[in-house]
C-alpha cells in the first residue's frame, strides 16, 4: 500500500505542537513499515478502531521479556507491519545521554527497525517501535555489543527509573541516579526473566515533589526525605519578601501543618510539626533547603486501576538511610523479602499492593520483618474486625 493517501492524518501535521505524523512521514520514504504504519493508522482514524492483534510471544534468546509482540489484523493491506514488534531498551539513569549514544541508537534502529521510537515509554524505557520477528535477535545482538540491554515486560521487575536527582536538582536527598543504576544491575535476572505473579515497578524520586510520580506509578517507591529541620537562610527569606513575595498568603498559610510563622523579619519553623511537604522550599529555593540528615521514605503498593482499582503507594519505611557505601544493602534486603513473600502468596496478575490488601498488612509486615508504626497509616482501623495471632490468645 505504498501509495495510500492519509487525509485524516495529514490534518495532524499543522499546528504549533510538533507532529508525530510528520515523524512517521519522515521515515516513510526509507521504511516501508513506517509507510504501512501510516496507512493502517489512517484506516484506524477512518474506522475509529485499532488494527493490531492481541500480542504474541516473541523475544530474544535468554530473555523472557523486553519485547512486545505486535501483528496487524489487516496484514493483507499492510504487509510491512504484519509483524511490528516493540523492543524496550533500558534507558540510562535520569534519561541523560551523550549524543554519541543517541546516534548509536539511531544508526542501529535505522538498520534493524522502523526508525521510529518513543523517547521514552511511560515506564521509562527507550521504546524501539516496530520491527519483524526475524530482526529481533540481530537487533538485540548489536545493541548489546554497544552496551545497551533490554528493559522489562511481562511479570517481572520493570525498568526502574529515577528523577535527575543530584545531577541537576538541589533538592535531591540522595543520589537517585546511582541508586537506580545499582538496583537495575543488581536485579538483572528479575528484570529479564518474568517469574512473578505480575509486574513490579520501582521508581525513585530525590524528594517529596516526586518528579517521577513514584507514589502513583510504582509498586516500590523510594522518595527522598530528611529527619532534622529544614535549613533556613533568613537573609534569603527577607530577600524574597523584599522582592514582593506575599509570604503570609503563599507560604505561611499554605503549610499543611502550620509549622511556619513569619514575624516580618524572621521565618520560624516548628520543626516537629513539619511534614516535609517541600512547599515552602519550592517557593523559596534560594532561602530554604531540606535538612542535613537525609535519606528516603519507602512506599509500597502504588499502581494503576487494574484489578482492584488504583492505589497510591503507602509508607512502609518512613526513613531509610540510602547507603552507597554498603551497596544499598538495606534496600536490596527489603526488596528480596518482599519478593519472596509476594512470589509465594500472590495470585496470578495480582500486584504486590493487592496481595497485601488481600492477606492483610500484618501478615506482610511479619514476613518482611518490619514493626508496625503509626506512620504507615493515615489513621488506625475503624472497623473492629481484628485478628489475633494464635500465640496471643489462650
Amino acid at each position: 500500500m505504498a501509495d495510500s493517501k492519509t487525509p485524516l492524518l495529514d490534518q495532524l501535521e499543522t499546528g504549533p505542537w510538533p507532529s508525530f505524523v510528520k515523524e512517521i512521514k519522515k521515515m516513510a520514504p526509507e521504511k516501508p513499515a513506517a509507510q504501512d504504519l501510516l496507512g493502517q493508522l489512517e484506516v484506524s482514524y477512518e474506522e475509529k478502531k485499532g488494527h493490531w492483534k492481541h500480542g504474541g510471544i516473541v523475544g530474544v534468546m535468554g530473555y523472557g521479556g523486553g519485547v512486545i509482540g505486535r501483528y496487524s489484523d489487516i496484514p493483507e493491506k499492510f504487509p510491512n507491519v504484519a509483524e511490528f514488534h516493540t523492543i524496550r531498551l533500558n534507558q540510562p539513569s535520569g534519561w541523560f545521554y551523550n549524543t554519541k549514544a543517541l546516534r548509536t541508537i539511531c544508526d542501529l534502529w535505522e538498520k534493524h527497525g522502523s526508525g521510529l521510537t518513543n523517547l521514552h515509554g511511560s515506564t521509562g524505557d527507550i521504546v524501539l517501535l516496530g520491527t519483524t520477528t526475524e530482526e529481533l535477535q540481530p537487533t538485540f545482538d548489536e545493541f548489546s555489543e554497544q552496551g545497551f540491554d533490554l528493559g522489562g515486560s511481562g511479570s517481572d521487575l520493570r525498568t526502574p527509573s529515577c528523577c535527575c536527582g543530584m545531577a541537576r536538582c538541589e533538592f535531591s536527598c540522595f543520589d537517585t541516579m546511582d541508586l537506580c543504576h545499582n538496583l537495575t544491575n543488581a536485579f538483572q535476572d528479575e528484570l529479564h526473566r518474568p517469574m512473578w505473579p505480575y509486574k513490579f515497578k520501582i521508581k525513585i524520586s530525590g524528594c517529596p515533589n516526586d518528579c517521577v510520580a513514584a507514589i502513583a506509578r510504582s509498586d516500590f517507591a523510594i522518595i527522598g526525605t530528611w529527619k532534622d529541620d529544614l535549613q533556613i537562610d533568613q537573609e534569603g527569606v527577607r530577600e524574597y519578601v523584599k522582592n514582593g513575595l506575599d509570604i503570609e498568603d503563599l507560604v505561611i498559610d499554605r503549610c499543611p501543618t502550620g509549622a511556619l510563622s513569619w514575624d516580618g523579619n524572621e521565618l520560624k519553623l516548628e520543626g516537629k510539626e513539619c511534614v516535609r511537604c517541600m512547599h515552602c522550599i519550592n517557593v523559596m529555593p534560594k532561602a530554604l533547603r531540606p535538612g542535613k540528615e537525609k535519606g528516603a521514605s519507602i512506599l509500597i503498593g502504588g499502581k494503576a486501576t487494574i484489578l482492584q482499582s488504583a492505589f497510591l503507594g503507602w509508607v512502609l519505611v518512613p526513613f531509610m538511610e540510602i547507603n552507597k557505601d554498603n551497596d544499598y544493602e538495606e534496600i536490596k534486603d527489603l526488596l528480596d523479602k518482599i519478593w519472596e513473600w509476594w512470589d509465594e502468596n500472590g495470585k496470578v496478575r495480582e500486584r504486590v499492593g493487592e496481595t497485601i490488601c488481600r492477606l492483610g498488612m500484618r501478615n506482610f509486615l511479619r514476613a518482611v520483618e518490619l514493626d508496625p508504626i503509626p506512620q504507615m497509616v493515615f489513621r488506625p482501623r475503624a472497623n473492629p474486625y481484628v485478628f489475633w495471632w494464635p500465640e496471643e490468645v489462650k
Binding site: I24, Y63, D141, H181
Partner: protein
C-alpha cells in the same frame, strides 16, 4: 552470542562535565523564563537548561537533529524528562538564546516549566496497541495545539499536568493527573466461543473480572458474560484474545480532573470523573479538545495562586466545581466499586 544482563549504559558517561563537577552541589535554581532554568552550584558554576516539547513518537531524524543541536550548544549532552520533554544542558549562558532561536526555527517549542502545562504523558493508542478505545498521539497533538500558549508561558495558578491513556490499563498513569483523558469501552465484550476453547484458560479468564461478571459455560467449554455486571474494563480481553471488546460505535473518551502526585501542601490525590463520555472524533477530537480547554480556563479563572486543580476543587467543594464548570453530574459520577461508600457524602455539610 550477545552478552546478556549487562544492564543499561552507566549514567556517568552521559553527564556533561559541568554536571560531573557539580554533582550533588547544586544550591538553588531559578526559572529565567518559560522553558529556561538555571541551576547554581555551591562552586558558583551555573547550568542552563532549555526545555523543549517533543511529540515523543519520534523518528531517528528527529533524534539526530537534537544531537546536532546538542553538539553545537551543549558539549554533546542532553536529556529527556519524566514527561518526555527534551532538555538541553548548557554550561555557557551565551549559548542559550542562539539555541532557542534555532529551536524555534525547527518548530520545536520551548516551555513546560513552572506554572505551565507541560508535555502530556501518554500511550500507544492505535499506533501500537491492541486494546485501545481511542488513539493517543492524535489527541495529544490536538490538545497541545490548542493549549499551546500554556506550554509557552507560565500564567496558570500552578502546574497543570495533563495525561492520556487509551484504555483502562492506564499506561499513561492518568489516575493522578490534574486533567486526565481516558479511552473507554462501553459495551460488554463478545465471546468467540469456538476460539476460546483452545486459546484461553477458563479459570484465569473468570478470575480476571473485577466485578465477577464472567461465569463458565460448561456446555460450550467457554465462558459467558453477565452483561449487567460488566463495566467494560477489558481485563478479560487482556487475558484472552477470544473475548473481543473493541467496538468503534461505542468506544469513547472520558475526562477526569483533580489528581496530583507531589506531596507539596496536600497529599497526592486521584483524578476523579468529570465527563463520562465524549465521542471519538478523529483526527482532531474537537469535543475532547474543547472540554479540556474549558476545564483549563475555568481553573485558571477561579483557583488561587499556587493552587493545583485538585486543591482548588477540594477547597470549594465538588458541588461548586460542577456548578462553576457547568458540567453535568450523572449517576456515572457516583462510585460503585469497592470503596464507593467512602466517597458518599456522610455529613449534612454541603453547599447549595
Amino acid at each position: 552470542m550477545a552478552k546478556t544482563d549487562i544492564g543499561p549504559p552507566h549514567y556517568e558517561q552521559m553527564l556533561p562535565p559541568i554536571i560531573k563537577e557539580n554533582y550533588g552541589k547544586w544550591k538553588y535554581h531559578e526559572i529565567l523564563k518559560p522553558g529556561v532554568l538555571v541551576h547554581v552550584s555551591e562552586t558558583g558554576d551555573k547550568l542552563y537548561t532549555v526545555r523543549v516539547g517533543s511529540p515523543r513518537l519520534v523518528s531517528i531524524y528527529f533524534i539526530r537533529d537534537l544531537c546536532d543541536l546538542a553538539d553545537k550548544y551543549c558539549d554533546g549532552y542532553l536529556r529527556f524528562t519524566s514527561r518526555h520533554n527534551v532538555e538541553f544542558l548548557l554550561s555557557k549562558e551565551e549559548n542559550v538564546e542562539p539555541l532557542i532561536a534555532e529551536l524555534k526555527e525547527k518548530g520545536l517549542p520551548v516551555g513546560g516549566t513552572g506554572n505551565s502545562i507541560s508535555n502530556m504523558v501518554h500511550t500507544q493508542g492505535w499506533v501500537h496497541c491492541h486494546t485501545p478505545a481511542t488513539d493517543a498521539s492524535g489527541i495529544v497533538k490536538s490538545v497541545m495545539d490548542e493549549l499551546f500558549e500554556y506550554f509557552e508561558n507560565m500564567k496558570l495558578p500552578a502546574k497543570l499536568r495533563i495525561s492520556l491513556a487509551c484504555c483502562l490499563n492506564m499506561c499513561g498513569a492518568v489516575h493522578c493527573s490534574d486533567i486526565a483523558i481516558l479511552g473507554i469501552h462501553r459495551k460488554a465484550p463478545v465471546v468467540n466461543h469456538e476460539n476460546l476453547k483452545s486459546a484461553c484458560e477458563i479459570p484465569t479468564v473468570i478470575a480476571s473480572c473485577p466485578t465477577a461478571a464472567i461465569r463458565p459455560n460448561p456446555k460450550l467449554k467457554s465462558v459467558e458474560i453477565k452483561e449487567e455486571r460488566c463495566m467494560y474494563c477489558g481485563n478479560c480481553y487482556t487475558m484472552c484474545p477470544s473475548i473481543h471488546i473493541i467496538d468503534p460505535e461505542n468506544d469513547a473518551v472520558s475526562i477526569w480532573v483533580g489528581g496530583k502526585v507531589s506531596n507539596a501542601r496536600t497529599a497526592p490525590m486521584f483524578s476523579r470523573l468529570a465527563i463520562p463520555y465524549l465521542p471519538n472524533n478523529p483526527p482532531r477530537w474537537p469535543e475532547v479538545v474543547d472540554a479540556v480547554k474549558h476545564l483549563v480556563e475555568v481553573y485558571a479563572a477561579n483557583a488561587k495562586k499556587g493552587e493545583r486543580m485538585g486543591e482548588w476543587i477540594e477547597r470549594i467543594g465538588w458541588e461548586k466545581f460542577f456548578e462553576i464548570s457547568g458540567l453535568e453530574f450523572t449517576d456515572k459520577h457516583i462510585d460503585d466499586f469497592t470503596h464507593a461508600v467512602t466517597t458518599f457524602r456522610s455529613t449534612t455539610q454541603f453547599k447549595w
